[in-house]
Amino acid sequence: MKKIAIESMQFKKVTMSFHECEILQNCDFVFPMNQNCRIVFKNDREKFFFYHSMTQLVGIEKGQYLINGVNVPDLSFEEFLGYRLSIGFGFSTRGLLHNQTLRQNLELPLRFHKLFSGSELKDWMETCVEYFDLHDALDKRPAEVSTNSQKCTLILRAFIGQPELIFLDTPELMLSTKLQANLLQMIDDHRKHYNLKHVFFSTYDEQFSDCLSDQNIILNHKRLNKVEVNKKLRIAL
């Protein structure tokens, strides 16, 4: 299956509900592309459901969620696969396969979809792991490593398939300042050398947000609104 380039993302009259609580109502929104966008939520429930909808883990209730003009909720798992391979999702905490080592967790999508051959895969893994210095933990299962290493693996797994679009759910969580800086470096490197174009993330850390965000998207009163960020204020970690 070939990856499909992601040119545009749009909501048309979208209504989303989670356990009878409405999150979006008749929302029209064009997502800004080729930027690092912070999405600001009022609570974790909104965040959880929003990301799950964006990655097609759950369906939207009403309206259209268009990627490149195609309404993706109409697509089957196989039909959406081309888009999915261009999308990376970094879970906030859970999501690692507990019966596999961190290395197997990272290699799984690459092996499953045959994205790299043997030697390429080894080199690529080495490049990725370098950012978070995971060498010692790589051959251990998630239960045997620190939550910090688990979090690093969750983030790396979002990047491992060289996606164009990435959703990162509180990526700075449990990371030291040094590792946060490495993450920012990784995003920059992926933009420059690989396919990464669009980054959507959420965070409760204003400093981290200031370092990364080009634009803020705020979910308020069941609508999404864009708010420009003053880039002059951008700081380095």
């Binding site: 299956m1 799950h52 990655t55 097609q56 883990l57 798992f77 196989e78 696969l81 999915r84 391979l85 999308i87 990376g88 999702f89 879970f91 859970r94 999501g95 690692l96 396969l97 507990h98 019966n99 799984l108 999508p109 092996r111 499953f112 979809h113 045959k114 797994r157 398939g161």
Partner: protein
């Protein structure tokens, strides 16, 4: 009275609905694994092998012990009763009738339900809670083809092999008992068995164990996937998996026995 009929109707409807969901999940898992050709077969092969190792290989000592015990007890009882009634030579027919047709598949299925069915249901349940299924989907891996399909295939192969070994070791134990108690030579015992078993018995044996394995692992996978958010749901679905798969297995085996062997009796002109 109407309320009782209503409740009964509702139960029947619920059971049909449940069976339909099981069928659909099994069909979709096979479809996604066999039709979605973009996936790596080697990855699936690894999961199938692991399932065969856990369900089949690790259960072997228990199956051998249970088969030997069951075979010894059945042949002991058979020899004792047949000594009173005469016709100890018919021991082969008795062993085929009891072990190959009924006890072998049934005990194997119950052992697999207790050992591996519970393991699969709770494993899948905890995968749901830990968002591992969601993680697989975000990686473009369909859990139906990566998680469910290999478990069902590995489970069916394991049940088939375990049932074969059960029958083999039960027969060996029976031969030993006959030898020790009645001094029956091994060749007489095994000739009696081979003469008693026909193609129909072997066919029904394969059918029972294959469909039995399919039922056990479909039910247990389905129950595991029913966990939504909280770990407290895991023991609940595990219990349901055991109960439901036992009921389905007994129902299916009873249906098959009635259909095949009663049909056979009436086809040769004997009254029931």
């Amino acid at each position: 009275m109407i309320a009782v009929v209503d409740r009964l109707g509702q139960k029947v409807f619920e059971n049909f609905n449940y069976s339909w969901k099981l069928f659909l999940m099994t069909y979709l898992s096979f479809r996604s694994a066999l039709v979605g050709r973009n996936q790596g077969w080697r990855t699936l092969y690894g999961v199938v092998s692991a399932q065969i190792y856990f369900t089949g290989w690790q259960a072997m000592p228990l199956i051998v012990f249970l088969a030997a015990g069951t075979g010894a007890i059945i042949s002991l009882q058979a020899v004792m009763q047949m000594t009173f009634l005469g016709g100890v030579d018919a021991i082969g027919q008795f062993m085929v009738m009891i072990v190959l047709r009924e006890v072998g598949p049934l005990l194997t299925a119950l052992i697999v339900v207790a050992r591996s069915g519970t393991a699969v249901a709770s494993e899948l349940g905890s995968m749901q809670v830990n968002k591992e299924m969601d993680a697989l989907r975000t990686m473009g891996i369909n859990p139906l083809s990566y998680v469910i399909f290999p478990r069902i295939v590995g489970g069916v192969i394991s049940v088939l092999c375990l049932a074969f070994y059960f029958v083999l070791f039960a027969a060996l134990a029976g031969a030993t008992v006959c030898r020790v108690i009645k001094g029956m030579p091994f060749d007489v015992y095994f000739t009696s068995i081979s003469q008693a078993a026909d193609f129909g018995d072997v066919f029904v044996f394969f059918l029972k164990n294959m469909i039995g394995g399919l039922i056990i692992f479909s039910v247990c996978c389905h129950q595991g996937m029913q966990v939504e958010r909280s770990p407290h749901e895991i023991p609940q679905v595990t219990t349901k998996a055991v109960v439901n798969s036992t009921v389905y297995i007994l129902g299916f085996y009873m249906f098959l026995t009635c259909y095949y062997y009663l049909e056979y009796v009436t086809s040769i002109g004997l009254p029931l």
